[in-house]
């Protein structure tokens, strides 16, 4: 799972994209994932277990759970996998918007 995310972050380096994690691992485990550069993106520490405050509020019952949020903050996708098509169309929307701003 993590290698996929790392390559995504790499691929998206110059794009208006942010991968933000909410991690349910114990503190030392998350620290070591970051130290080993397995996790290279910003990550909330959610209290060290799956019943942490963020996961509880967001009613997370399965991991991973992925939300895609557009530039206006609107939820556009949620599931237990990433739909590349949705991600690409959101990025295209974003690029289109940036172009319009320029003109």
């Amino acid at each position: 799972m993590l290698p996929h995310e790392r390559s995504l972050v790499n691929k998206m380096k110059n794009k208006p994209f942010a991968l933000v994690g909410v991690n349910s691992d114990p503190e030392d485990k998350l620290k070591s994932l970051i130290k080993k550069k397995e996790v290279t993106w910003p990550c909330f520490f959610d209290g060290g277990d799956p019943s942490g405050p963020i996961a509880t509020k967001w009613n997370i019952n399965g991991w991973p759970t992925i939300y895609l949020i557009d530039r206006k903050g609107i939820i556009r996708f949620k599931d237990h996998y990433l739909d590349d098509k949705v991600l690409n169309s959101l990025l295209a929307e974003q690029t289109e918007h940036a172009k319009r701003l320029k003109n």
Partner: protein, 253 residues
């Protein structure tokens, strides 16, 4: 991570084991005895599987074994024949629940749902599984749950049925209907649990689903998250506003 289907089957099987242990020494019907035999066969298979799992030395070995989890569905034809031979028999209620909770298509579940609706609305077998019937993810189960809610007087049991119904409505994205039912469960389910060892009450789970239904649907503005990273540094979801955000709930614990 264990595939969803395995968990579903484990739950179905756990539910049926509860039924077996509740059996008193009173004389069993022929169908109940036959049902018990099938269940004993499944229990033995399960036990053997667990024993193998405990003796696994590598992760790869374990992964392989997860794929060979004893298949409760292979007993479906036998159980279906059993319940059809005398649908009114109490043993048929148990057989119907086993098949219903383990079936993958509406066609497979159809006979079980009909038998439960027609003859077993008041059965202990249905009572014991009513709070987990949402796991079937089947729209057809809504009819059974609605019948149960209408016909049963036991308020705790009715609340459990409302909970299952609300979860199925959520799966179908009928969020307004789901919210109404979850609000009832929030009031009525303060001392009720899905399982004996559930960590949250049905009321607490309902609260979480109401929040999800109201604020976490596609098309809604994502609520901000304010927290810290693992080093205690402040972090907000809104720090990334204006970008396309992939919010990834993950962990390996």
């Amino acid at each position: 991570m264990r595939p969803r289907r395995i968990i579903a089957l484990s739950i179905a099987f756990a539910a049926s084991s509860v039924l077996a242990s509740a059996q008193t020494a009173q004389s069993l019907t022929e169908i109940e005895s036959k049902y018990n035999q099938i269940e004993a066969a499944m229990t033995a298979e399960n036990k053997a599987w667990r024993k193998k799992l405990d003796s696994c030395k590598s992760k790869a070995e374990k992964e392989k074994l997860y794929k060979a989890y004893p298949d409760a569905a292979k007993y479906h034809p036998q159980l279906t024949a059993l319940m059809k031979s005398n649908p009114k028999d109490p043993g048929s209620a148990k057989a119907a629940i086993w098949v219903l909770t383990g079936s993958e298509t509406p066609e497979q579940a159809h006979d079980s749902i009909e038998i439960l609706k027609k003859y077993h609305i008041n059965s202990k077998a249905l009572d014991d599984s009513i709070a987990i019937l949402w796991f079937t993810r089947k729209p057809e189960v809504k009819g059974l749950l609605n019948d149960y809610i209408l016909k049963r007087k036991d308020s705790a049991q009715v609340t459990k049925a409302k909970y299952s119904l609300a979860r199925i409505l959520m799966q179908e994205k009928s969020t307004d209907e789901a919210i109404k039912l979850f609000q009832a469960v929030e009031q009525e389910g303060k001392n009720l649990y899905e399982f004996k060892n559930s960590s949250r009450t049905l009321a607490e789970t309902a609260t979480a689903y109401i929040y999800e239904a109201k604020f976490l649907q596609i098309g809604k503005k994502a609520p901000d998250i304010v927290g810290t990273d693992v080093n205690g540094k402040k972090l907000k979801l809104s720090d990334f506003a204006g970008k396309v955000i992939m919010l990834d709930f993950f962990g390996f614990w």
